[in-house]
Each structure stands twice: as structure tokens, then as C-alpha cells.
């Protein structure tokens, strides 16, 4: 079949063609289309798919599936790998039984990410797990299949690290129909392999490092690390990966030049010999790499170890902040080869910035202005991830800090303990289930008294309306137990609790005033459906 597919849709096709039978993940940008698509097609394809409560749980679910003999795909955005890393590292030690591919979507330039401009490739060094980096939707498809192949061959999970410009790129993809997969597995006891108790854990580390040597030999031969324009000028060679490869080719096209390029499909382990061979006899090397200088440092070390005399350029002429593009790579190349170029000058005009805003009819419109108006001077506001992030932007300008999922309340506890100021902290229903419960317990247990506002809009909205445990539906559209946030909050030991509809402003206002005077932590659950969801349901 040949179709225009989004990179993430190509990942889904690749997993189906590889015979995946277990899919778990947590929605984020740029990864959510993978889980969302499986939610629609899983049942018809005999696949099981879920959105788990968070990325750690999602990975653990897939580990269970792998140990039981099912091929699994885990999907998450960049920060998800931080959340699941506690289980990721031991997984490298135990290895997989049935193959597993883990999709991690990085977002250079932070188009849809607060928090940090994370370069998740660093986890390769921390975990010793192979990393592949596709450059196009076609490679999203091919590399997913390759990931399963490597995982099967070496009994190790494989991470597909994909950036926004590949995950959210559309292009023509050739793909095959799905391969029938196993539906039921069997767990066969093997604590020798599945349990990381010392002293066995040290042996396992040895086994992992041995495995990696073999995977490096595989990488040396792999077609995904390839050279183009081999016989062109020896003045400059470019080593690149991911979307930067496409920008490099575009830059050559614009300049009307052809230079040798080594495209690395493997980020880890690197084909060190192939890289050394490529560098030999060249005067200059440009490492065209987005974000951190991982490749550049490795390549410099390889040149040094092998005694190759070559000048290596990287972050000295390419930015470490923000995504790369054709213009940036073109200027860097021109600088090295001494070619004069005329760059397009953008005439700056001063226009008001149009930032993200709450949708028309959003229930949060009833919450933010009230809080701002009635909070006593000096009140500290904690924000969290999700649609409530928009509270950080004009006209609200509400938050004093905003970190990662669940962190708002965690930090608010610390502020409350350290000061005598009033603290109001906000989180959504999705975040509450993802990572909001542990900091709530901490506030109760360690006796601080922030006012927690849980904005329960009945769905995980920001990432594209995914189901969560508070809704009574699961990813595959089936009925599921509807977990009550109210009951959970009560069970955490919270005494001051009110569930209300924020459209009832006097009630909301009075409750905020009352709870701000409490000695213990208090919680207001503002329960009102997301306006977009309500409109969609009305249409049905």
C-alpha cells in the first residue's frame, strides 16, 4: 500500500506489520497519535491497547506482556522517559522475552512542551538500550519493524527516538498489511532472568555489555547507517541523523553542491568503524546534530582514538538551542567550505503575540479570574501540566511556578512549609491520576496546608481528548470502572473537601475563602466538562 501518512501513523503501521499484540502508553505531544490510532483500530486487528495511568506504569505493563511472550509497543513523549526510567534501567538488565519497541517523542524548540528542551538520547548512555532515529515517515515505518527485529534477535528493548518534525511530518509511505499476532501469551517462570536481585544483578550487567558489543557489530553492517555521495570532494564530510539529514540534503540542493554524507540511523550503539572509515582522508567534518552534542563528542573521541587527523565542527557553528533547519545547516556548510551565500533577511515587525488561549466556553474561564480576584495579596500560585498551563499566559498570568506533571502540588507543599504565605495549587484530572496522588498524600502526612484546586473537566484534554480513569471508558472505547477523584482524595486523609461546578461562582468563591483559612490541606474539585467535549457529545 502507498499512502500519505503522518510519521506517527507510519509507526502504527510498522508495529502492525511486525505483529505487535500489546500496546501501552501515555498521551503527550508529539506521540499521542500512536495510542489514539491504536484505540480506534486495536480491536479489529486483534491487538490490546491501553492508556496507562502514567508512562512508568505503561512500560511496566509492556514488560509484563513481554515476559508473557507478547510483542509490545510503548508510546510516550520525551518527558515520559523520565517518568518510566526507574523501570527502564532494570529492563535493560533483564532484557525482553518477546520483542519490545519503545517510542519516545522529543520536541526540539518546545512547540508543545513546557518543562525543558529535552534530548532523550542521553538515556542511551544511562540505560544501555539501543536507540534508533528515523529521518522520515517511511523510516518511521521501516525502523519500527527493524526495532522489533533487533529486539527479537538480542532480547533487548529498542527505543525509537523521534522528533516533532518527523513524528508530525506527512509524506508518502509504502507499507504492508499487518501480520497476525499472538493474542494470548504464557508466563513461564524464570526468576534467573526476570529478577534483578544482587548478586545476580552484577552478572546481568556483564551480560548486557556483552550484548551491546554484538549489537555494535550489527550496527556496523546495518543499512540504516549509510553513506551518500561517497566519491565527492574530500574537503568536507557531513555526519548527521534524524530530520537534520533531510535539512542537509535540502541545503546541498539549494547550494547546488554534493558532499559526502554519513547518515546514522543508530544513535546507540554507534558504528564506530564506519564513522572512522568515513572520516579518513577528509579535511573537515561537520556534525549536523540537533540539540545536545552527543554525536559530536563521540565522533571527536573516535577520531582521537584512531589517530585520524580531521577538523570536526559541531556546536561551535550550529546552535544547541532550538531545532535545526535547512538555513542553519546551509550557513554552517558554507562557512566551512568558504562559499559566499546570500541569506534572506527577515524585516522585523512588532506585532502583538497571539498565544494559546482557553477555548470558548472552557470551564477554566470561571476559575482563574475568581482566584486572581479573591486571593489575598502575596498568595503563591502553583500550576501544572495540561490545559491549565494556559493560566500561565495572558490575560491570566496566574502561576508563580510550573514544572512537570504533578510537580505543582509537590512544590507547593515545600513553599507552604517554608513560608507563612497562602498557597493555591492547580492540577487537572489527568494529572491527578498520573502523578498527583503521591504529593497529595505527602501534604496530608507531612502536615502542610496548600489549597489544591483539581480542575476535573472529565477528560485528558490538552493532548487531544484521551480517556482517563475518571471517565468510565478506556482507550478501546469499552466501559471501565469510573474512579472517583473525591473518594480518592478522602481516602488520602483530606478533611476539607468540596466538589462543585465552577460556573456557580458564589459557591466557588466562598469555598476558596473558607478553605484558605484552614490549618490542614484542602481540596476543591471543580467538576465541569470540557467545552469542546460537551459540544462534540451534543452533536452525536
Amino acid at each position: 500500500m502507498k499512502k500519505v501518512l503522518l510519521g506517527n501513523e507510519a509507526i502504527v503501521r510498522g508495529a502492525l506489520a511486525a505483529g505487535v499484540s500489546f500496546v501501552s502508553g501515555y498521551p503527550g505531544c508529539p506521540s499521542a497519535e500512536i495510542g489514539d490510532e491504536f484505540g480506534k483500530i486495536a480491536e479489529a486487528n486483534g491487538v490490546y491497547a491501553e492508556y496507562s495511568t502514567n508512562e512508568k506504569v505503561a512500560l511496566e505493563a509492556a514488560i509484563g506482556a513481554s515476559f508473557s511472550g507478547l510483542k509490545s509497543l510503548v508510546n510516550m513523549k520525551s518527558f515520559g522517559i523520565n517518568v518510566c526510567s526507574d523501570s527502564l534501567l532494570p529492563l535493560a538488565y533483564t532484557g525482553t522475552k518477546a520483542p519490545m519497541v519503545i517510542f519516545v517523542g522529543d520536541d526540539p524548540s518546545c512547540w508543545s512542551s513546557a518543562q525543558s528542551e529535552q534530548d532523550s538520547r542521553g538515556y542511551a548512555y544511562l540505560s544501555h538500550i539501543p536507540f534508533l532515529e528515523p529521518s522520515s515517515p517511511q523510516e518511521c515505518y521501516d525502523f519500527t519493524k527493524l526495532g522489533f527485529e533487533i529486539s527479537e534477535k538480542f532480547n533487548i528493548p529498542v527505543i525509537l527516538r523521534v522528533t516533532t518534525r518527523v513524528a508530525h511530518q506527512r509524506a508518502i509511505v509504502n507499507f504492508e498489511e499487518r501480520v497476525k499476532s499472538e493474542v494470548k501469551g504464557e508466563f513461564i517462570r524464570n526468576p534467573h532472568q526476570f529478577s534483578t536481585m544482587p548478586p545476580r544483578v552484577m552478572e546481568m550487567k556483564g551480560e548486557l555489555l556483552e550484548k551491546l558489543k554484538k549489537i555494535e557489530i550489527f550496527a556496523e553492517k546495518s543499512k540504516v547507517n549509510f553513506i551518500i555521495n561517497k566519491s565527492a570532494s574530500s574537503k568536507l564530510g557531513v555526519i548527521t541523523s534524524g530530520i537534520s539529514y533531510m535539512h542537509t540534503l535540502e541545503a546541498f540542493e539549494e547550494m547546488g553542491i554534493q558532499l559526502p554524507v554519513l547518515r546514522l540511523g543508530f544513535f546507540y550503539p554507534l558504528p564506530r568503524k564506519k564513522i572512522a572509515e568515513f572520516m579518513k582522508g577528509k579535511k573537515n567534518i561537520l556534525v549536523a546534530e540537533e540539540l545536545n552534542s552527543y554525536l559530536e563528542k563521540e565522533i571527536k573521541a573516535i577520531a582521537n582514538d584512531m589517530g585520524i587527523k580531521v577538523k570536526i565542527f559541531g556546536k561551535d557553528i550550529l546552535p544547541e538551542i532550538g531545532e535545526l533547519n535547512t538555513d542553519k545547516i546551509l550557513s554552517a556548510t558554507a562557512k566551512i567550505i568558504g562559499k559566499k551565500i546570500t541569506t534572506f533577511k527577515v524585516k522585523q515587525i512588532n506585532l502583538p503575540r497571539r498565544t494559546a488561549r482557553l477555548c470558548e466556553g472552557c470551564p477554566y474561564w470561571h476559575v482563574f479570574p475568581v482566584l486572581k480576584r479573591i486571593a489575598p495579596e502575596g498568595t503563591v500560585f502553583g500550576g501544572d501540566i495540561g490545559c491549565n498551563m494556559i493560566g500561565a499566559l495572558p490575560p491570566h498570568n496566574l502561576y508563580d511556578y510550573l514544572f512537570d506533571m504533578g510537580a505543582g502540588l509537590g512544590i507547593s507543599h515545600g513553599v507552604k512549609k517554608s513560608t507563612s504565605q497562602k498557597v493555591i495549587t492547580i492540577m487537572g484530572d489527568g494529572t491527578f491520576f498520573h502523578s498527583g496522588i503521591a504529593p497529595l498524600i505527602n501534604s496530608v502526612y507531612n502536615k502542610s496546608n496548600p489549597l489544591v484546586i483539581i480542575l476535573d473537566n472529565r477528560i485528558t484534554a490538552m493532548t487531544g481528548h484521551q480517556p482517563n480513569p475518571g471517565m468510565g471508558k478506556n482507550l478501546m472505547g469499552k466501559d471501565a470502572p469510573e474512579l472517583s477523584i473525591e473518594e480518592i482524595v478522602k481516602a488520602c486523609g483530606v478533611k476539607n473537601l468540596k466538589v462543585l461546578d465552577p460556573i456557580n461562582m458564589p459557591e466557588f468563591e466562598n469555598t476558596v475563602k473558607e478553605f484558605l483559612g484552614k490549618e490542614e490541606v484542602s481540596v476543591i474539585i471543580c467538576k465541569r466538562i470540557c467545552a469542546l467535549l460537551a459540544r462534540r457529545q451534543a452533536k452525536k
Binding site: V4, G28, S112, R170, T326, L351, P352, R353
Partner: protein, 190 residues
């Protein structure tokens, strides 16, 4: 079409249907047997803020993104966003603008936006797509199809009418197809 890659930037406000428009152009290029790549943004960046998507098609396309100044056509769904994007328009760039205003806090008045657009001396086509769709089809949101029809009709974009019609049939759900085709025809005949 000739050898050169054709570069389009779509701009507007999150929620205006830019991704659907992009999908139709992608599909039309596929129908014509061309290579096509496009780049879009989802999530936070889509929630009512400025958005920009890129489409490139031709014999051979490498990067999914249009280099600064290299757009052949900019389609702006909103006037202030057209002005914002206009700084990246080169000599060859045609800018098709929906004469439509989505004001926000500290936004500029209509007259000021139109005045500044004129002052840029760029190659603008200012079309009341939303207004026309509202009056004649009682639906503003299909202005994307209207603008596409206009671009194809005025040959601002080297895609055949039949290919785009086929792409709409392939991409748009049956119950919205008729309305979109009407909007396309309305723009095409303008």
C-alpha cells in the same frame, strides 16, 4: 509541473482547519504522482495561538519545511497572521489572505492590520472567504476549501482542479463533502 519544488506555508489560528487543508493538498499531490512532504504542529501550539504549517511537493523533496523566503505561496486564514507571516515572503511569494479577523487581547484594529498589510508592498490577494462562505453557505469554517478553490482557480498553486477534487473525496468524511465541494467551487469561480 516543472522541476522546481513548490513551497506552501499555511498560517492562521489554531482550530481554523489548517491541518485538514494541509491533508487535502498532500493528497492532491499524491494523486498527481508527485513527491510530497508536510510539517504541522499539534498540542499546546494548536490551542488558539498562531500556527504555521508547511507543504512542499515536486519531483524530489528532502526537508518537510520551507526555508525562509522560499515560499511560493502563503495561505493565511486570518489577516493579522498574514501580516505576521509576510516578513518571510520573498519576491516570488504570493500571499492569499482570508479577509477575516480573530481579535485577542492587545490585538490590532482591523484598519491598522489592513494598512500595515498594504505598506509591506508584498504580493497580496485579499479575499473575503469567511464572509462569502457565511453568506452563501451559512458556514464559515469551510473557508479553507474556498481559499483552496481560489488558489487552484487563479493558478496560484500548480495542482489540477480534478486532483484536488479527488483529494477532497478521499479525505473529507461523506457528510461534510458536499459543503466543502460547494465552498471550493465558490472560491474557484471567484
Amino acid at each position: 509541473m516543472d522541476k522546481k519544488t513548490f513551497n506552501i506555508i499555511l498560517t492562521g489560528v489554531g482550530g481554523q482547519g489548517i491541518i485538514t487543508l494541509l491533508q487535502i493538498i498532500d493528497e492532491a499531490a499524491l494523486v498527481e504522482g508527485l513527491e510530497v512532504k508536510s510539517s504541522e504542529l499539534h498540542g499546546l501550539s494548536q490551542r488558539g495561538g498562531s500556527v504555521e504549517a508547511h507543504v512542499r511537493f515536486g519531483k524530489k523533496v528532502f526537508s518537510p519545511m520551507v526555508s525562509t523566503g522560499k515560499a511560493d505561496l502563503i495561505i493565511a486564514m486570518e489577516a493579522l497572521e498574514a501580516l505576521r507571516e509576510s516578513v518571510k515572503a520573498g519576491k516570488q511569494t504570493k500571499i492569499l489572505v482570508n479577509e477575516y479577523f480573530l481579535p485577542f487581547l492587545n490585538s490590532l484594529p482591523k484598519e491598522e492590520i489592513l494598512k500595515q498589510l498594504k505598506e509591506t508592498k508584498k504580493n497580496f490577494y485579499l479575499i473575503p472567504a469567511s464572509q462569502d462562505c457565511k453568506e452563501k453557505l451559512q458556514n464559515e469554517i469551510v473557508c479553507t476549501a474556498y481559499l483552496l478553490g481560489y488558489a487552484v482557480g487563479k493558478k496560484l498553486m500548480p495542482l489540477k482542479k480534478e486532483s484536488v477534487m479527488q483529494a477532497m473525496k478521499n479525505m473529507i468524511p461523506q457528510k461534510y463533502l458536499d459543503l466543502n465541494i460547494k465552498a471550493f467551487e465558490l472560491g474557484h469561480g471567484n
